[in-house]
């Protein structure tokens, strides 16, 4: 067993975990972040994506014990109070989700992209989500959601 301290969505806890315990399981069961979903458990679908020290990471391929002292954000930490993250708003406006199971992973994977992309081509947008699988939407509306979120960010910056 190993003692680890994680900060998840601003809340710090020190836990004693088995070294083999997956980060995703700790986030779900010890921090109550059930928006972290297992899609494949072998790092191929992106459903479990979270931010570790600001970078998208697959929580099914990371052990909690590897993340001692790290700052983690999950889908539950993306809204600012009652205001949804621009990408969350865009997904609703563009019907970027259906069953919703893969959605948290897409939001977490794409959030940094919409911060840095300025005039991305469709190809660049699609490449940015190449590590995530969605079985419902066919991706078309997710591409539209990303475009909308970037436009909203730029509008906000202009204002």
């Amino acid at each position: 067993m190993k003692a680890v301290t994680l900060t998840v969505n601003g809340v710090s806890k020190t836990l004693t975990v088995e070294p083999r315990r997956l980060l995703a399981d700790v986030l779900r069961h010890d921090f109550g972040c059930y928006g972290v979903h297992f899609g494949c458990s072998h790092g191929a679908c992106g459903c479990c994506t979270v931010h570790v020290n600001g970078e998208p990471r697959l929580s099914c391929l990371a052990f909690a014990a590897q993340c001692d002292g790290m700052d983690i954000v999950t889908i539950e930490g993306m809204a600012a109070g009652d205001t949804l993250h621009p990408l969350q708003q865009a997904f609703i406006a563009e019907h970027g989700l259906q069953c919703g199971y893969c959605t948290p992973g897409f939001i977490m994977a794409l959030a940094p992209f919409i911060e840095r992309a300025d005039e991305p081509t469709d190809e660049e947008i699609r490449q940015a989500m190449s590590g995530n699988i969605c079985r419902c939407t066919g991706y078309h509306s997710i591409v539209a959601s990303v475009r909308r979120a970037i436009a909203a960010r730029k509008e906000g910056a202009d204002a």
Binding site: D122, N132, R135, C136, H140
Partner: protein, 786 residues
Amino acid sequence: MPSRAAEQPRYVGARITRLEDPRLITGQARYIDDLALPGMMHVRLVRSELAHAKIVSVDTSALQDVFSHALVFTGADTGSLGIRAVADLPGVQSFTQPLLAQGRVRFVGEAIAAVLTDDPYAAEDAAERVFVDYEPLPVLADVEAATATDAPRLFDAWRNNLFVEQTRKGGDIDAARSQARHIVRRTYRNQRQAGVPMECRGVIATLDSTGRILSVWSSTQIPHLLRTYLAEELKWPENQVQVIAPEVGGGFGVKGHVFGEEVLAAWLAIRTRRPVKWIEDRREHLIASIHAREHIHTLEAYVSAEGKVLGLKADITADVGAYSVWPFTAGSDPGMVAKVMPGPYDLAAYEATYRAVATNKCPLGTYRGVGRPAAVFSQERLMDEIAIELDIDPFELRERNLIQKFPYKNVLGYTYDEGSYAQSMKKVRELLAPDIARARNPERPEIRTGVGIALFLEQTAHGTPDFIRRRSPIETGYESAKVEMHPDGKVTVDTGVQCHGQGHETTFAQLVADQLGIAPQDVIVRHGNTVTSPYSVGTWGSRGITLGGGAAHRAAGILRGKLIAIAAQHLQTKPETIELADHHARIAGDASRAIPISSLARWAQRNVENLPAGMEPGLVAISFVDGPPDGSYTNAVHAAVVDIDMTTGGIKLTRFVVVEDCGTIVNPMIVDGQVRGGVVQGIGSALWEHFIYDKDGQPLTTNFADYLMPNAPSLPDIEVHHIETPSAVTPLGMKGLGEGGAIGPAAAIANAISNALGVAIQETPITPNRVWDLIKSKQSSQPQAT
């Protein structure tokens, strides 16, 4: 027919963002694996490592040494319990799929033992300490092996390895053959694949402390059917069984079956008196849930000199794996092909023989489109081949054969309601004009462009007679909804049409809001819960909005009548003059005389002295809507444009166009989403997805690195165009559309690639390797220039 809402609809037809999205987008939705009960045990299944074997022994003695609290159960405990899925057709052979193997296993992944501990990690460890001793048996790895004359029997008592073999026919096929100028015969194959939702299956079961109420949570599309099956199989009174589908992360037909694991979890909860939870992992899902497709079709078309198809003969074989699935049975996929092969064409004669062959693979079940993607692939490839053989433009050939007048009774006796077959093809032809021109005049010699189309029908919302004909355990095809207005004027809709991404919480609310003069935001739609909703056969068959939504529309119509009657008395006017809109009942054209809906709702339940004499208190209504006997037929044309790299065999899908007609559209945003999602699944069928087994029946595609799901960079945008031809046989003229997107792509893409290469594609998936081989074989068959 139900009365339409008196006013113009405000919400039906509107692009309204989804009411269910806020919980999904914030991580607050709760799927099966997010639920827990105090004292819960976690189940890990020990699964067969061999495709066909006798089980000599299951040794569990090493387990309790390490895991003293672990429980283990084998087939000796569960005995004859299983999945019994038999169609009552002549000659059908059947066998019950046991919950846990009974001395023999018939596919890799078949459950042999269940190990329970209080922690899922420990359950996996414990399961590894169960040792199975196998005696291998000859493996029937494919249809050829299973139908060989000396093939061993998969089931000892069977005559051969066929679950079912049937023939369907109409018209005079011999006359068609003798009148034909051309006979075009082709064989087509497609591959084994599946729906593969992003959330795997899972189930939690518990018995209450009194030992009476069995509660089951399952990631299912069919909660009521699961309840009935559990009650019958476990001999438990059905009023003491409750099934709840929590948030469900996609289904696509896979979760439209009752699985052994669901029955096993319920049995374990009863046996152990502990809550039990089983969550499938991805490998289990890919080898041991439900597969689909894997057909061989041989078609023979009898064609006149003018290109009219006079008759069609079809021989349809499906490799359906080791067991029959409930409720659709082993014959469902090939049987559907035999039923729908005539498609949108005016055929005078048709004969189809279909068979379901048992092999040592994962059982075959339903997946979006059920048989239709395979049927349309073969039929629409064949139409292009006929066009080439007769040197007729493929649009023109189809034009000569398309059904033009409605209603139309087809060669098997099915009646098609109004559609827009010719109109939708004309529209696609216009849209494709630039691509067709580009295909004829390539800019670069190493890149060949091809254009392909596929026309098809989607039989949707079929009623009970369609299911009676199948004689399978599905039995019926109605849907239901209960609508209740509360004293404050807000509304709850309860329906058994389980929603796992289709947006019912929004579209049903739109339908109800229009009836009651309120807003969709005033309506909460609850689903997937047998405790709250009337009986339902669940979400499958492109029937949710037409029948479930239709039932909500009708039940709300009953409440509407009551609200109007109360308002008419208070406004001292005739009911016909009352309209419900903007949260008020008012006299049409006189805004000054209006009563808030919330007042009427309160009077009906709290101040009933205000009701007209003799009116019963309360504002609850239930409606059951059966589908039209032959269903309602959505039509569509799919078109694909591809660029083939002749130096590598590389395939680039550059454009995909859909023109579809699903009758009255309730929410165009959701319709587009359903179509596009389906299309991309169909593209996966055409190009990538394939469950591969080796000759020993070992699955080689057991993760997402080997089983290739469509991903974003490999896909174009999907253009969707609509034509709206309301049905005369359904509520509000709605037709189903959930499956259609997945039906056409394999055919359209295969036609486009064939067009580009000048070589016939006869098999999916169409991989670069296959294309490369075709390019090479064509080059070697052509005389070399000297």
